[in-house]
Symmetry: D2
Subunit: 380 residues, 4 copies
C-alpha cells in the first residue's frame, strides 16, 4: 500500500532527516533503528512499508533537500556517506516541495494548500495522504469565537483579510486544509493544530483521524519512565527541575517567551499526570546556538525515601533532536495511514505514546502508552 | 494476623533501619513512604499489618539496637528525633536478637539457628515467621557435590567439622535452618541463600515459599526502567557503564574481588535480559569509607539513534542504601508471609520486582514486574 | 585587638551561620574550615582573632538567634550538637540585634542606623567596626542625579520623604550610615552598596575602606578556576551555560526578574573577563523551595579542541550557601578591619578574591586573586 | 630553525593526529587551538615554528598515515575535509616511518634505532631532533641491577639475548638510543622512559635534556585546577573518586592490571601533592571499545565546609584523547628543541605543566606550573 506523507515545514531539519531516512531505508542503506513500528512486537502489523511512503510538503522558506541534507551532514546529524549515496534521489523529492500558499483570505490560503495536496495525491495515485506538521513551534494564539464551531469558522475564514488578525494559527489552518482534502493530520509540535472544537467537528464529519501533540523525544521521554518508577516504588518526589539547552531553529523559536511557556507547561504537566501531584521546580529552556540540533537537558530530582531521608537523582540527556524525531515521524505516518485505512476517525488516543502532550485522557507512563499502542496496532 | 520477621544480620544498618521504621509506623510517627505494599493499588490486599510484625534475628557481632540507631541518626540515615522518640521501644526488640549459633558441625549450627527461631515464634505465638537475610554479601562459594540433593546434603552437614571447609555458605545454612523450622526465607543479598537444588527440594517437601536475590535499590532500579525505554523506542544501546561508590559495611565487603564480581555480574545481567544483547561496558564498585550509607552511582549510556547518530544519557544516583532497602524488607516480609499463608511453596517468582537477580525466568523491566507483583498479591 | 562586626540582615541564614560559627571557634568547638584567613599562608598575618569579633546588626524582621539556629540545624546547615552546645551564648548576641530604623526621611533613617552602630561600638569599647551587608539581594535601583556627588546626595536624603521614591536603595543607605559612623563597609550581596560616586567621595573624605560585591561561593567560584584552565591550555570555549537551583530566602528573592538579571549578568561577566570573549549561553536561576540552602548548580561547557574536535565538560555543584558564605564573612571582617587599621581607604581591590563582581579592574582568575590577597595581607 | 620530531608509536592515533595537525598548520588550514605555545603570553618566544617541524618515527606495526588519518576522520577525531585536503602531503611523512628495529641483543636494537634517527637527521639536515614516546603504556618493568649505572647498563645490554628477559623496557631503550644519537627525549606516556639512574647519567654526560611523564589531557588536568581551589578556600576534601571510560588502543592496554595500576597511582598522586593529604577514594579505568578516542571521565568530590556541612561537586569530562594530546606533543617538541638549543641538560622540570607525573619536585597546581613554564620559555 503506497501512502503519501505531506510535511509542513518540509525544508527544516526534522523533515529533511525524515526524508533522507526514508530514502536510506528504501535503498537498504540503513536499518530502522529508532523506528518503533520496526520493533519485533509490531513487525507483523500490516502497515504501509517504509519504502512505500511518498513525500511532499510545504514550507515558508524554500531550500533544496540536497543542500539542507549537506548542512545536516556537516553538523553531524546525518552521516556524510549516506547523503552522498542518496544524492541522485533528492531531485524527485525536491520536485514535490512547494512554497506555502498565501491567499487574500485564510479560506483562499486553505484552498491553495488543499489543492497542492490533492494534486500530489493524484500525481502519485495515492489513496491515503497524511499531513504532518514538523514546522517550528508557534506562539499560543489568542482565543477566537470562530474556534467553537465549524460553520462559524468557515464564515470567518472567508471574511477575514490577510491584513487583519488571523482567525487560525498556521498549524490549525493546515489541519483545516488537510481535512478538507480528505487527509489525516498529525501535529508533531506543541502548536494548536487540530485542537479546536471546529476542527474536531470537521474531522468527525469527514471520518478522518488525527494525532498529536509535541513529539516526545528527550527529557520528557525520560520523565515518562522515571516518574512511574517513583510511583511504583511509592517514593515521594519533592522537586523535579529541568534545564534544556538547544540551538537550531527550534531553539531560537523557543527562546520566544510565548512558545517557551507553552512547551514548559506541557513538560511539567506530564509529572502531575503521572505522580498525581506537582513537585517543586520547573523547566527552563535556553538557546545556545552552537549546540545546533544536539539538545542537552539536565534534570535534578530530589525525593524523600523511607522516614524522610533526602535522596536525589540527576541525569543529562545529550540527544540529536532531528535524529530522534525523524523515525517517530515515519512511525506516525505509517500508523495514522493504517488507522485511516481501518476506518478510525477523530483523535487517535492510542498514539499518545509518541507525544509529550497527547490528545485524550491517557496514562503518561511510557510502558502503559506502549501497551496501548501495541494493542491498537495489532488490533483485536 | 501477627507475623514474625527473623533477620540475619540483625544488628546491621539495613536491619536496624527496618526495625526503627516498623516501630515508627506502629507508633504513627512516620508514613510508609518507600513501602510498595502501601501503594494505593495494593492497599486492599489482606497482608499482615506493618504494626503486626514482630522482629528478632541473628548476627555475628552483637550491638544494641539503640546504639546502632544512634549511629545511623548521626550519619543522617535516620531522623534524630525519631530515634529519640522510639528509645523506650528498643529494649524489647534487643531482647530478641541473638548471637549467631556455632556448633561442632554445620548440622549442629543449623539446629541451633532453628531452635532460636522456633523459640521466638512460640514466645510470641506467631503462626508464621519469615527469615530474611540482610547480612553482608558473601564471596561466591565453591561448588560442592552435596548441593545437588537433600539426602547427600544432610549427611555432609553432619560429618563436616567446623575446622574443615564448610559445605554451605552461611546464607544457605540459614535458609536450610529456616526451612527446617517451617519458615519461609527471603534473601535480600546476592549471596547463595536458597539457590541450591538441595534446598529447593527441602522447601518443596515442606511446602515453604522463598524469594530473592539482591534487593534492587539503586543503579539497577534505574536500569530496569531506562533499559526498557531503549527497547520500546527501538534504539540501539552501544555501551552501558556504571561506577558505584559506597562506604559502610557492605562497601568494604564488596571491595573484596569475589563478592564484587558476583554483584557486578548480576548488575550487567539485567541489561542482557532486557535489551536482548549485552552492550559494551561494565560496572565498577569502589569503596569510599566516608560516603557511609550514601551510595553514589554514575552511569553512562551511549546509544545510536536513527541513521547511527551517536547520543548519550548519563545519570547520577545519590541514595541512602539502608533507607532504600528497609521499606522493601518490610514489603517482602508482608508479601512472603501472605504467600505462605495462601499456600504458595517454592520460589516466589512474582516477587521479582524487588530483586536485581530474581528467581525464575522473568521479565526484568520494572513495569512488567510491577504488574506481576500486583496480580500475584491481589490474586484471582 | 577586639573588633565589631555589624551585620545587615542580621537574622538571616548567612548572618546566623556566621555568628554561630564565630561562637564555635571562640569556644574551641570547631576548626576554621572554609576560612581562608586560617590558611597556612596567612596564619602569621596580625588580623583580629576569630575570638575577638563582637557581633551586632540590623534586620527588617527580627527573630531570636537561637530560633534561627535551631531551624538551620533542622535543615542540616548547622550541626544540631553545636547549636545545643552554644545555647547559653546566644542571648548576648541577641541583645545586640536591632530592628532596622525608619525615619521620616532617609537622612533620619541613616542617622538612626549610625546611632545604633556607634552605641554598639561604645558599649563594647570597639576601636573598629565593619558593617557587612548579608541581606537579601535588592532589585537594581533606578539611577538618581543625587548619586553623582556627596553634597547633592545629602540634600536629597534630607528632603525626600518616606512616602516618596527613595534616593538610595537600602544597601547604599547602610553604606552611607556606616561611613558617617566611621566604619568600614563590605557588601557580600550583588546590591548597589557603596558603588555610587557620592559614597566613594564620602569614604575617601573619611579615610574609610570598603569592599564588595557578591560573595563568590559556588558556581562562579568553579568558573574562576575552570575558565583559566581553558585559557592556559589555549582551548576555545564555544558555550558555557549554567542552571542554578536554589531555595531559601535568597532563592525566592532572585526569582524576582530584576534581581535575577543583576546576578546572571555578574555571573557571565566573569567569563568574559577571564576568556577575553563571551561564549554562547547564559545562566538561569530557578527557585526550588524544598532545596532550602542547598544550592545545586549545573554547568555545561562545550569547547573546541585541536582541529575543531568538539568536547565538553559538565559539572554539578551541590553546596550549602550559608555554610559557604559564613567563613568568608569572617575572613572579610578580619581583613577589612585590618586594612582600616593599616590606614587603607577607598575600594579594597585586593579583596577581589572573595567576590563574583569585585571592585576595581582586576583579574578574575582565582589563583591570581589569591596571590593578590596574600600579598595585600602579608604586606611589604 | 628546522627541527626533527621522531615519534615512537608513529602509526598510532596520537602520532597521526600530531602529524596531520602540523601539516594543517603548515598549510594554513587550521589554527593552533589547544597549542599552549601559541598562547599570547608565549607568542614572542623564539621556538622552532610549527611549519618547521619534520616528522619521522618508529612503530611495531606499520600502517600508512593516510589510512590511519582516514580512520580517525571516520571516528570524528579529525575533520574529514582536512584529511582529504592534506592527502598529497602524507606520502612524504610516510616515507620517514620505520618498523621498530630488532637486534640479537638490546644493544644491537638500540644501535638500529639510533641509526634510523641519525639517518633521518642527516637526510633533512636537522641540527636538533627530539624523540617523543607516544606509544601505548607499558606494564611497569621489574627492577634490574643494571638500571643503577651507565657502565653496568651498557654491559648488560650487550650480553642479554633477545630470548632472555630484557634489561630495559622499550620506552627506556628508545630513551637510551635517543641519547646515544644526541637527541633530546620526551615521554608522553606513563612508561619508564628516561626515569632510570643509568639513563640520567647518560643524558648528563651528553648534555641532553629530557621531559615527562604522562601527558595531562583530561581528568588530571581538571584535578590540577579544582584541587588548588579547595586549598585556596581552605576546604577539607573528604573523598575524590574518579571513573575513566575509554576505548582505543590505550584503553585496551590500560585494562591490563599492571598498566592500570601505574596510571591510577599517578592520578591520585596529584591530589596528595596539591592537597597535602590523600582523601578517600580511587580512580578506576574501564575499557569501553565503542567510545574509541572519546574518553569520558566522571569524578565525585565530597568535601566538608564550615562547621562540617557536607557538600559535593561532580564533573563529567568528555574529551577526545588524541585531539587533546596532539597539540601538547607539538608544544613539547618546540619547547624541548629550544631548551636543547639553549644548552639545558637533564630533566626539564619547568615542563611539569604538560604532565600528570612530572619529573622533579614540583607544584602540581596548574597555574603554578603555567607560571613556571612561561618563566622558563620567556627566559631571563
Amino acid at each position: 500500500m503506497r501512502a503519501g506523507v505531506w510535511l509542513i515545514g518540509a525544508c527544516g531539519s526534522v523533515a529533511t532527516t525524515t526524508i533522507v531516512g526514508a530514502l536510506a531505508l528504501r535503498n537498504g542503506l540503513a536499518d530502522p533503528v529508532g523506528c518503533v513500528t520496526a520493533h519485533p512486537a509490531l513487525r507483523e502489523v500490516p502497515l504501509p512499508g517504509f519504502a512505500d511512503l511518498v513525500f511532499g510538503g510545504h514550507d515558508v522558506v524554500m531550500s533544496p533537500v540536497a543542500k539542507k541534507a549537506g548542512q545536516l551532514a556537516a553538523a553531524g546529524v546525518l552521516p556524510a556517506r549516506l547523503v552522498e549515496a542518496l544524492d541522485a534521489e533528492f531531485g524527485q523529492v525536491a520536485a514535490e516541495l512547494r512554497p506555502a500558499p498565501a491567499g487574500a483570505t485564510q479560506a483562499q490560503t486553505a484552498a491553495g494548500i488543499a489543492r497542492d495536496i490533492t494534486s500530489f495525491a493524484r500525481r502519485h495515485r495515492l489513496d491515503r495522504v497524511v499531513v504532518i506538521n514538523v514546522a517550528s513551534t508557534e506562539p499560543a494564539p489568542r482565543p477566537h469565537p470562530a474556534h467553537a464551531g465549524l460553520a462559524t469558522l468557515e464564515k470567518a475564514l472567508e471574511t477575514t483579510l490577510a491584513s487583519q488578525e488571523q482567525v487560525l494559527p498556521p498549524s490549525s489552518l493546515y489541519a483545516y486544509a488537510a481535512f478538507r482534502a480528505g487527509c489525516s493530520y498529525v501535529d508533531f509540535t506543541p502548536s494548536t493544530g487540530a485542537r479546536l472544537p471546529a476542527l474536531a467537528e470537521l474531522a468527525r464529519d469527514r471520518g478522518l483521524p488525527y494525532a498529536g501533540h509535541d513529539g516526545k523525544t528527550g527529557e520528557t521521554l525520560l520523565k515518562s519512565v522515571l516518574a512511574p518508577m517513583f510511583v511504583m516504588r511509592n517514593l515521594a518526589v519533592r522537586s523535579w527541575s529541568g534545564a534544556n539547552l538547544l540551538g537550531g531553529g527550534d531553539g531560537a523559536n523557543l527562546a520566544d517567551p510565548g512558545a517557551n511557556a507553552a512547551k514548559s507547561a506541557s513538560k511539567q504537566r506530564v509529572l502531575n499526570e503521572i505522580l498525581g501531584y506537582l513537585p517543586d521546580g520547573g523547566t527552563s529552556i535556553g538557546y545556545v546556538a552552537s549546540l545546533g540540533d544536539f539538545k542537552t537537558a539536565w534534570d535534578l530530582v530530589t525525593f524523600s525515601g523511607f522516614l524522610g531521608t533526602p535522596m536525589r537523582v540527576q541525569f543529562t540527556w545529550e540527544g540529536c533532536d532531528s535524529a530522534l524525531a525523524a523515525p517517530l515521524v515515519l512511525d506516525l505516518a505509517r500508523s495514522t495511514v493504517a488507522a485511516h485505512e481501518a476506518g478510525h476517525a477523530g483523535p487517535l488516543v492510542p498514539l499518545a505514546y509518541f507525544f509529550k502532550d497527547p490528545l485524550g485522557d491517557t496514562d503518561h507512563a511510557l510502558h502503559a502508552q506502549w501497551e496501548a499502542l501495541c494493542a491498537f496496532l495489532t488490533g483485536p
